[in-house]
């Protein structure tokens, strides 16, 4: 229920539904979507609650392609707008996301990932890391990427992502997964209306006589002008670095540092507990923003840690960024499950123990 008293509220909610409720509270003005498992509850929740929010535009489009282009139009017309989907649907949106990054349009995109490649499975995965952080579509661009690890963060990151996306006039992506979308946890919902919005003076809202016409475009035929736009975008991505966020759990004295994001970081937290009980000096480094990536934090950890173990629900994607950050100063191992399989804390611990064994064989 819309919170009109301006107070926060505690509820037990499914990740997808909590995210949808958070979007209302964050002042979302429009949502365009298309059903796909495991995130269909977002659109279902929004349409069910729509009567309480008569000013919010909620529309089921004919395809993900149409939906993201509606987002483009609405964002260009000054709206705070969200779209959500799951892996194959997000692939369909990549062309428009490139246009949006180039035309500098803010929007919140949510990917509740499922196992791929192809039609894959509806089970949770982190297989879209590359697509999320490297651009995904054509050309040189980046999305701002936040990776939640709890239902609470499915709520909190909606606010953060809207704020960052509007601050930098760039699409922001919440990279969740099927488990986070489907599982229920206790959440604190912030009060509605707590996220201010600055007026979009660049938007196409109708040209008054007092200003020049506003044009939303990514087309600059002259290469000199197109290079200039690229330089502007790259300068913006450099600026974004100050938004980097990460979390460290018992990493300060750890010989073995696990690196994991999203759901896998939750799993690895448990592995750290189990390992510490066995006397292993193990810790966790969890990137919260995947773009910008917490490179400096990893470099710092490389001074004390002996070895890193990146754990992901994919064939090894973030591990490439971890290796780039460490630059060969320490070994960076990888453990992953694919195709919708979720690793258990115990199986990660088995890998940790085998690494610990090789460490103990090295003469001090």
């Amino acid at each position: 229920m819309a919170d009109e008293k301006g107070t926060s509220e505690i509820r037990l909610m499914k990740g997808n539904e909590a995210l949808a409720e958070a979007a209302f509270r964050a002042g979302m003005q429009a949502y365009f979507g298309y059903p796909i498992t495991p995130q269909s509850e977002v659109l279902e929740y929004l349409t069910a609650e729509a009567p309480k929010h008569p000013d919010v535009v909620i529309l089921q489009a004919e395809s993900e392609l149409a939906a993201i282009n509606m987002v483009y139009g609405a964002s260009g017309a000054s709206a705070r707008v969200m779209i959500s989907s799951s892996s194959p649907g997000i692939s369909l949106m990549q062309e428009c996301l490139s246009y949006m990054a180039s035309a500098q349009l803010p929007a919140l995109v949510v990917n509740v990932q499922r196992g791929g490649p192809g039609l894959g499975t509806i089970q949770p995965s982190q297989g879209d890391y590359f697509q999320a952080v490297k651009g995904g579509g054509h050309g040189d661009y980046h999305l701002i990427v936040l990776a939640p690890a709890s239902v609470q963060e499915m709520v909190d990151f909606v606010f953060d992502a809207f704020r960052l996306s509007e601050k930098y006039r760039n699409p922001a992506l919440i990279l969740a997964d099927g488990a986070l979308g489907q599982m229920m946890e206790k959440v604190t919902l912030p009060p509605a209306g707590s996220l201010p919005k600055t007026e979009a003076l660049w938007a196409t809202t109708g040209k008054p006589r007092t200003r020049e016409r506003n044009i939303i475009t990514s087309l600059f035929i002259q290469p000199e002008r197109m290079e200039q736009l690229n330089l502007t975008l790259q300068a913006k991505y450099s600026q974004m670095k100050k938004e980097v966020r990460w979390e460290e759990i018992r990493a300060e004295d750890a010989d073995i540092v696990l690196v994991a994001f999203g759901l896998t970081s939750r799993i690895c937290e448990k592995t750290v507990d189990l390992g510490r009980q066995k006397g292993l000096k193990i810790g966790l480094m969890r990137p919260i923003t995947l773009y910008p990536f917490p490179t400096d934090a990893l470099v710092k950890l490389a001074k004390s840690a002996q070895v890193f173990l990146t754990v992901e629900m994919n064939a090894g994607q973030m591990v490439e960024d971890v290796r780039l950050a460490i630059e060969g100063k320490r070994p960076v191992e990888f453990y992953g499950r694919m195709g919708g399989m979720i690793p258990s804390p115990e199986e990660v611990l088995v890998r940790v123990e085998s690494i610990a064994e090789t460490l103990s064989k090295v003469p001090a």
């Binding site: 149409a66 483009y72 260009g76 000054s78 809202t205 109708g206 016409r213 044009i215 475009t217 087309l219």
Partner: protein, 255 residues
Amino acid sequence: MEPAANIDGMELVYKRPRTLTDTPMHYCPGCGHGVVHKILMEVIDELSIQEETIGVAPVGCSVFAYDYMDIDMQEAAHGRATAVATGIKRILPAKYVFTYQGDGDLAAIGTGETIHTVNRGENILIVFINNGIYGMTGGQMAPTSLLGMKTTTTPFGREVSTMGNPIKITELVAQLPGAYYVTRQAVYSTAAVRKLKKSIEVSFKYQKLNKGTCFIEVVSSCPSNWKKTPVEANEWLEKNMLPFYPLGDIRVPKS
């Protein structure tokens, strides 16, 4: 700059619409785009809706329309103009929104968006320029290319057996309940231009009624890619295009 009202005692009988910018157009001689742009802006001037109008120009020759139209505009990806327009109109329902699309954009890559936008009855105006060819990419076959028409990708002429028939998308959308006003016009003669202007004018008026989509097909020519002079192109259009794409209203509001 507005021209002086009187030059050497001569009476000013014609001038550029205020909402059409003073920018030399990149269109080829004889191309229909320039005329349609001018008519559109003339209507916007006459209705005094420059401040309330937002246009969408997708990929195609008219992708630079915003260089010539002095209104807020969005460029759209190929085929997605009506989805973009849907997003704009849903946020700004009191404004006038139009798309300006070519045949490849509207009737090939964007067919899905075209049909569903009209089916939802979005209160926008769709201006559809049909010249039976891909102009910007250099004269390839369009979904509306006539049978036998030679293009760079049908060098021996379009054949039904491999390429199918040209699509009459305007007749198709006219059947959808969301369509309010559907018409096919042209710009090959002054009489045709006058009729087109009337259609655009009523379409903007209809948009205020919130009763559904207005859809105007403009049968136009592409002399450069048809490999004809502007005059030959107009003659060819009248002789070949119009029998297949007959002019006139296809769906009119019930009175």
